[in-house]
């Protein structure tokens, strides 16, 4: 085999490797991209069956214990100030889960309009708010981070929107 052929073989092997990597990536992207939604997004259009990340604040006074399929579960409402959606979750809530504070849940929308979460992530510390939650609040017009810190968390689910429509 001449040098040219060898180089061709290596180039072909590289192409095959990267090509299959690209193909795998695209293939995996098709099924596994998870879109972020706010409670308002969920209210405005249906996303039944898709896996979604739902972000917002846990509505004050909404957390209820329940039992689903014989397993301990919890129900709460996630709000962005304009609309809210009921979330059910089987499992142990994270340490930082609190009423009135930011939360991101991963799950699917059930036919009854409730959100069935398979994962619940609470914000990581007292001062940090998940980027997704910030986005949800900005989208619903409740908070412009440039204008200062967010209003007290307990008022979120009752706060009127400062921006109409949208």
């Amino acid at each position: 085999m001449k040098r040219k052929h060898r180089r061709l073989a290596i180039v072909l092997a590289c192409g095959l490797g990267l090509g299959s990597a690209a193909a795998l990536t695209l293939f995996a992207f098709r099924d596994n991209l998870v879109f972020f939604v706010t409670p308002s997004d969920l209210a405005s259009r249906g996303h039944a069956g898709e896996t979604l990340r739902l972000g917002g604040l846990v509505a004050a006074g909404s957390v209820q214990h329940a039992t689903i399929d014989g397993q301990p579960a919890v129900r709460f409402r996630v709000t962005d100030g304009r609309s809210s959606v009921s979330v059910s979750y089987i499992g142990v809530l994270p340490d930082l889960f609190r009423e009135g504070q930011g939360v991101v849940t991963l799950g699917t929308l059930a036919p009854d309009g409730g959100f069935v979460a398979s994962e619940v992530l609470a914000k990581h510390d007292e001062t940090y708010m998940p980027k997704d939650v910030v986005e949800a609040l900005k989208k619903s017009g409740h908070w412009q981070p440039a204008a200062g810190p967010p209003p007290p968390a307990a008022t979120w689910n009752t706060l009127p929107a400062t921006r109409n429509g949208g």
């Binding site: 490797g17 299959s20 990597a21 596994n32 972020f36 397993q71 499992g91 340490d95």
Partner: protein, 653 residues
């Protein structure tokens, strides 16, 4: 006074690093022996200055000097001494200082152990390290200064994030950083070679031990981080494909490729341009991993801060370091003439395939990690890419990699035949197949594949050694005697490959783990994984800076007590947070894992797991790192050893 001393030492380090960047490089260009000889002294000087600065910060933390802003924000007087020390690198400023200190240590190490290097190469390597260091120490001094004072000083500090108060995490950053930063040395060698316009087998021999050492540290660091998330976060998982985790995996993948392609440079004087590019790429990924993540650009649960000034500085610095390196590569690499021809079917060919597969995996992980960022910037869409994506995209590439990992070392250099290698491997293949088929009767297809792969890897790793000692072909005693003659590098390679097999077994075991969420009152019992779990008691237990709630669980099997474990929740009043204290009992074949959730109506919510082979994941990583260390101990790899050996025959004759 002490913090000011540290501040001054930090400023001094910037100046010395700048001198270290300029003088040796000029010296090497002009062939000025005196200027070149200044390189090691400057490297030592920079290391001493940074060590002084780090010592000053350590001192301020130990004596709880809350007039230092950084200490007041992250410490408290009640904190145990261990965490006062390790808390120094628990926050952004301190961890950047540690990063700089290790970079300076790398320069000093090249100065100390690189005596056998040609003067110009050593001067250039230390010069490049100095230039990199100057940039990052300047970053620490200007926008990330750990010595900023606070007036008036508060009576009590804010306290550390309780999640970080943990021995596993205490030593995770230094080891991980030693890995990240260690790749600066191959990077500096690559740039030195590009400036010089020459890469030869000797270059490969110099680069490989440094790359190997950095790789071993990075392997250990990643394993420690994964172990921490397993037992501290209490989510029952060990790897979440979180951007921070991926950021450490990327340099590991590239570094693994580098360690292998450097072998080809050393033995066969081929793949030189590619290896130089890999050395640049690995360190660039380390830099991106540390700084993009630490600056919070990639959204993650681990990110420290969101400070725009820091972000801009870091982005410019990264662009400068990586851009300069790549520009130099584009300009000078064409001068490195390719030599060394080999057939596709050869040891070199297998190593090329290993590199292609590792880099493909790295490309997939990189795409998945950065895609949400680009989707948001370009399309404004908020998308996340989670574990299902990475599993679906990485697994199909990992399987051929595992196959090649065993066959490759059986092939000879230059030109090889596949058949003899496969014949020597038949019993390994048979064993793997048997285990795989057996497993499919009990589990799903992917765990079964994982168990088969692990058997293939662990047994396959030692086939070459078995062949070398001619086991069962010579008398057993003779065979065992021959074991001593096998070079340590061969042992190291085999052990590292077997370590990968052990990790794969652990991952497969975790894939068949059982878990259950229950709400039970004290005295009640549940069954899981063949064990009977009884909640004996729920009680309060005070701690030094927290109060805890514990659940005592007795685990029995066939009436015999296997373990008594007490998972709990701690609440820290100062930080106003609670943490989950996972309880784990292991016998190396399975972990019993229990997490206490909230309590309701006298019932405690418990999450119970039986994780099969879980400890093997980290054990395998340790074995991999040990294999790297063993290779490093091989005389042939030690810097300067070839010189001494060249001198030896003269004496003997």
């Amino acid at each position: 006074m002490i913090p000011e001393l540290g501040h001054f030492a930090l400023a001094l380090a910037v100046v010395i690093a700048a001198a270290q960047a300029v003088l040796p490089l000029i010296g090497a260009a002009r062939r000025d022996a005196a200027l070149m000889a200044s390189a090691p002294s400057l490297a030592f000087g920079q290391f001493l200055a940074l060590a002084l600065a780090f010592g000053a910060l350590l001192w301020s933390s130990v004596v709880s000097d809350f007039s230092v802003y950084n200490i007041a924000e992250n410490s408290q007087s009640l904190k145990p001494l261990l965490y006062k020390i390790t808390g120094v690198w628990g926050d952004h400023e301190g961890s950047i200082l540690l990063w700089c200190l290790i970079l300076a240590l790398c320069g000093a190490a090249v100065g100390a152990f690189g005596r056998a290097l040609p003067a110009a190469v050593r001067a250039r390597v230390i010069g490049v390290l100095g230039a990199t260091s100057a940039g990052f120490v300047l970053f620490s001094l200007t926008v990330s200064n750990p010595f900023v004072r606070l007036w008036p000083p508060p009576w009590e500090g804010q306290g550390m994030n309780p999640l970080l108060e943990d021995p596993g995490l205490a030593f995770h950053p230094p080891i991980l950083y030693a890995g990240y930063v260690g790749f600066s040395i191959p990077f500096a060698f690559a740039l030195a070679a590009l400036i010089e316009g020459r890469v030869d087998a000797a270059w490969g021999r110099w680069v490989r031990p440094w790359a190997l050492a950095a790789w071993a540290f990075l392997t250990g660091g990643i394993a420690l981080g994964s172990w921490w998330s397993y037992y501290v976060l209490g989510w029952g998982g060990y790897w979440f494909w979180d951007p921070v985790e991926n950021a450490s995996l990327l340099p590991w993948l590239a570094g693994t490729a580098l360690v292998h392609s450097a072998i080809v440079v050393e033995k066969r004087d081929a793949l030189k341009i590619w290896t130089v590019l890999l050395a640049i790429g690995t360190f660039s990924l380390s830099l991106c991993g540390t700084f993009l993540v630490r600056s919070g650009i990639l959204n993650s649960v681990h990110a420290f801060a969101n400070d725009p000034a820091r972000g801009v500085f870091i982005l410019v610095l990264l662009a400068l370091v990586i851009g300069t390196a790549l520009a130099l590569f584009a300009w000078r690499a064409p001068r490195l003439l390719p030599t060394g021809i080999f057939a596709p079917l050869s040891r070199e060919g297998a190593l090329v395939l290993n590199n292609i597969l590792l880099c493909s995996i790295a490309a997939v992980v990189f795409t998945g990690t950065t895609y949400p960022l680009f989707a948001q910037l370009l399309a404004g869409a908020q998308i996340s890419v989670g574990a299902p994506f990475f599993n679906a995209a990485v697994l199909p590439l990992a399987i051929p990699l595992f196959v090649v990992m065993v066959i490759g070392p059986m092939l000879s250099w230059k030109r090889a035949a596949l058949a003899p290698a496969l014949i020597r491997l038949w019993w390994v293949a048979l064993a793997a197949l048997a285990v795989g088929v057996f497993a499919t009767f009990h589990t799903a297809i992917f765990p079964a594949l994982g168990f088969a792969a692990s058997v293939w890897l662990i047994l396959g790793a030692f086939v070459d050694i078995i062949a070398r000692i001619r086991l069962f072909r010579l008398p057993l005693a003779t065979s065992l005697a021959r074991l001593g003659g096998i070079p340590l590098a061969a042992w190291g390679g085999a052990i590292a490959h077997a370590g990968m097999g052990i990790t794969v077994a652990g991952i497969a075991g975790m894939a068949i783990a059982e878990h259950r969420i229950v709400a039970i009152a004290a005295g009640e019992t549940v069954d899981l994984g063949g064990y009977r779990w009884t909640l004996e008691d729920l009680r309060d237990a005070p701690g030094p800076n927290y109060s805890a709630r514990l659940a005592d669980i007795r685990v029995t099997r066939d009436g015999r007590v296997i373990a008594v474990m007490s998972p709990g929740r701690r609440s820290y009043p100062l930080q106003r947070t609670t943490t989950t204290e996972t309880a784990i009992r292991t016998n190396l074949l399975r972990d019993l894992y229990a997490v206490l959730g909230e309590e309701r109506d006298g019932k405690a919510v418990l999450r119970l797991h039986v994780n099969y082979l879980a400890p093997w994941i980290w054990l395998g990583a340790l074995v991999m790192a040990a294999g790297g260390g063993l290779s490093l101990a091989d005389r042939r790899l030690r810097i300067g050893a070839p010189l001494r050996r060249a001198a030896a025959p003269v004496v003997a004759a």
